[in-house]
Symmetry: C2
Subunit: 221 residues, 2 copies
Amino acid sequence: MEIALLGGTGDIGEGLALRWARDTDHTVVVGSRDSEKATHRADDYRTLLDERGVEHDVIGVDNETATERADVVVLSVPPEYAVSTVETVSNGLTSDDVLVSPAVSMDRDGAGFHATPPEDGSVAQAVAGAAPDVPVVGAFQNLAAGALSDLDTELRTDTVVTGDDPEATALVRSLAEEIDGLRALDGGPLAVTALVESVTPLLINLAMNNEGMHDLGVRFQ
Amino acid sequence: MEIALLGGTGDIGEGLALRWARDTDHTVVVGSRDSEKATHRADDYRTLLDERGVEHDVIGVDNETATERADVVVLSVPPEYAVSTVETVSNGLTSDDVLVSPAVSMDRDGAGFHATPPEDGSVAQAVAGAAPDVPVVGAFQNLAAGALSDLDTELRTDTVVTGDDPEATALVRSLAEEIDGLRALDGGPLAVTALVESVTPLLINLAMNNEGMHDLGVRFQ
């Protein structure tokens, strides 16, 4: 299977790319608006995985090409670019693809971070509005980017997967669980994704306010 | 110290009463609108703790008397009664007391449970608006009532404590951590409590959608 990470050159995209490349046989397609940046970043990821003696299959291309190739497209871009990125790559999307929304909209004031969901209710629902013919799945919102991209960190964390297409959500849950130490839980339909997205600012507030806590994830038990 | 649980005859109030009675030397004051109901319920709790050979100090009185006696007052009532309960007991509240808000406002539709915070932003902030002279602390929102009130269940769960008065939040964190297996984290000021309250409908959705998961709590790690 080919998994594209649009915006796969930064933050959560880097960690997902490295983990999928290390832990699975899938082809990881690092996408960027700038194909040269994508190529360079894919080189970096390959070097890092080579140093660990890990077999991998990572390529870097522009977002449009990444979308055309891939079966699963992860929108690992900042939330304000989620909808515009979908619009940019829409020619490459078909109803057989799965679009994954890991972005979270939040802002910060003196009290800390707050959730600032878009009018649609959640970033995932805004993405679904922009791609009405493609199954959209919410996932990976609550993973700590730092822990994810540090392959020496053993994960023991959950991701909540939401969506309205049972096949698509099952596929994303399965891809998530192929990452060592990641457990994927069924959060229900896309309409309740706001609850998942709002865990992320909570995690940041907890990291800010509690000594010794950083790169926090969440575990439901 | 005396801890009052207003609405301590049901749900989360029962579990907190039993756990504090079992795990600490504090006086647990079970409050209810109906003093007879409070007395009976306190009897039940004492019987249950006696059967376990646990020393305890539990009494049952009406909410007003409970508030007058107690140093810490937990509003373990349904969210729609949180503000009216504060108004009822306000004569017994002083600025030396601490008011704790564990309630969560949510509703359910076909997709599952959603957070429905009041206009103030969170139940805790609505409570603070109704008791402007008393330090208000948000805590205990994400505990599973079933697990909490079953003393055979070993907790291994977190509660996020929010508030604007450092002494009051420190006191509530300390009381929370006196319950075996409960870890209290600093969530920041009261203004970010909505993030904590919205974890509760997420926990219920996860319990509904994932086989073998029930009485879920949350752990940040």
